[in-house]
């Protein structure tokens, strides 16, 4: 299948599962307000390593706007997505030092290693949720609570993303769909 068409389908599936499934998580008591994972950021995390920053930024903006439109929040998802897309090459360089690897591969649990991928996902999702939640409340009042929300949601999102990786990604680095 055409590579870019495949990417578009993956993005669509992630956005739809975000809107219909992960935005409707039902948890008990305070957990309900504090765990709101955004898993569609996995799309930005797993774009091929040699993708240019321009491409990354534009794709991130597009997918962010799509989620914003479907959940009735204008701009906050787009802003958070563009931020992590811009930071992605830096984060990857931090964790993915071996330059000799094939640059056209996608970051996954097989190409980065399970532990490295975990750190990469956790770091990125934490930044993502921090930006998202501060933009959502748009105040630094009770900032520690927003940080706690970001930490808990990042952990939940990372868990979900690792599960998606284990279920859908095969060793030859193609999504199993």
């Amino acid at each position: 299948m055409n590579k870019s068409l495949q990417q578009v389908i993956i993005a669509a599936v992630l956005v739809i599962s975000q809107i219909l499934l992960f935005n409707n998580l039902q948890l008990r008591g305070m957990l309900n307000s504090f765990v709101a994972p955004s898993i569609y950021a996995l799309f930005i995390l797993t774009m091929p390593i040699n993708t240019s920053r321009v491409n990354l930024l534009l794709s991130a903006f597009a997918i962010g706007i799509a989620v914003d439109g479907l959940s009735g929040t204008l701009g906050i998802n787009a802003a958070a997505c563009v931020l992590i897309a811009y930071l992605r090459p830096t984060t990857l360089r931090l964790l993915f030092v071996r330059e000799e690897r094939d640059k056209s591969v996608q970051p996954s649990i097989y190409t980065l290693g399970v532990l490295n991928f975990f750190y990469y996902t956790l770091l990125t999702t934490f930044i993502f949720h921090l930006a998202l939640f501060f933009l959502e409340v748009f105040t630094f009042y009770e900032a520690y609570l927003t940080v706690v929300r970001a930490i808990l949601s990042a952990i939940a999102a990372t868990t979900a993303m690792m599960a998606i990786e284990f279920i859908f990604v095969r060793k030859n680095n193609r999504y199993h769909k």
Binding site: L25, Q26, L57, D68, G69, L70, G72, A78
Partner: protein, 279 residues
């Protein structure tokens, strides 16, 4: 000029980053509830189809609970009816307009979409302008308040939920009658805060909090919840934590409250504002 081009070429990633973030922030800054709900309306055809499908499925699983709630409400209404039959109704002025009947009418509705895990939650109801819904009407469930209608389309309406950081109505302590402002602090979908109650008021855990009726969006005396705890924060006011009577996760059927003289009251309030500006 050449240098500028070189500069742009060298930092084109960062400049694109700034432009996109700028666009996102412009969207955030310029989006009002009106635009957000317009956006909702544009997506409603497909989205509501999904949500109604889901809520229809969910409805079967909660039939037992819904039945129990309806039975409870029936009993309560029967008691009220009994009260009015056996008492001199001329004395009770609440909710009855002495001139031509009802002060409030209730329009039944079904919840089509019910998020609870955001900081600013909005419900979608399956009734709209064609059913007589207008913005700024209150929404109640069988035993508590739910939110305020903020936008309507022909067949659907968007409601700012009580679980919204921008939600604020006046409420009072039933026992002592003191007024405060009911807000949601975003921590827990089962709890809300009653603020601006002066410190000399005596409060007991378990006191009932109810609507004051001053906003005209909600009738007077609808129960909201019970006092869970209270504390004094800087200043002269209490911060009272309330356990909400309503369980937002089980909400299926609601009623929209239509205040008969809403337009009249609003025009009076508008005149009041004009007078203030003139002075």
């Amino acid at each position: 000029m050449n240098n500028l081009l070189k500069f742009i070429l060298r930092f084109h990633d960062f400049i694109l980053f700034l432009i996109l973030e700028g666009a996102a922030f412009a969207l955030i800054a310029n989006s009002t509830y009106y635009q957000q709900t317009q956006l909702y309306s544009a997506l409603q055809i497909t989205q509501n189809y999904f949500f109604e499908l889901l809520s229809d499925m969910a409805e079967y699983t909660s039939l037992r609970g819904d039945n129990a709630a309806l039975a409870r409400e029936n009993a309560r209404l029967r008691n009220q009816l009994d009260y009015y039959v056996n008492h001199d109704t001329a004395k009770t002025v609440t909710r009855v307009d002495p001139r031509n009947g009802k002060l409030y009418t209730y329009i039944p509705a079904k919840v089509a979409n019910l998020p609870t895990n955001k900081q600013n939650n909005f419900l979608i109801l399956n009734v709209g302008e064609w059913d007589g819904i207008r913005s700024e009407m209150g929404v109640i469930s069988d035993n508590s308040i739910v939110g305020i209608v903020i936008n309507t389309s022909a067949h659907y309406s968007t409601v700012m939920s009580l679980l919204n950081r921008d939600f604020k109505i006046s409420a009072r302590l039933k026992r002592t009658g003191y007024l405060g402002s009911l807000i949601w602090d975003g921590h827990n979908y089962q709890e809300a805060l009653l603020t601006e109650v002066p410190q000399h008021v005596k409060i007991a855990v378990g006191d009932t909090v109810e609507t004051s009726g001053y906003s005209a969006m909600f009738p007077e005396g609808i129960q909201i919840g019970q006092v869970l705890s209270y504390e004094t924060k800087k200043g002269n006011f209490y911060n009272i934590r309330i356990k909400l009577d309503i369980d937002f996760k089980r909400l299926r059927h609601v009623k929209v409250v239509r205040f008969t003289y809403q337009a009249e009251q609003r025009s009076l309030e508008r005149n009041l504002n004009l007078v203030k500006i003139d002075e």
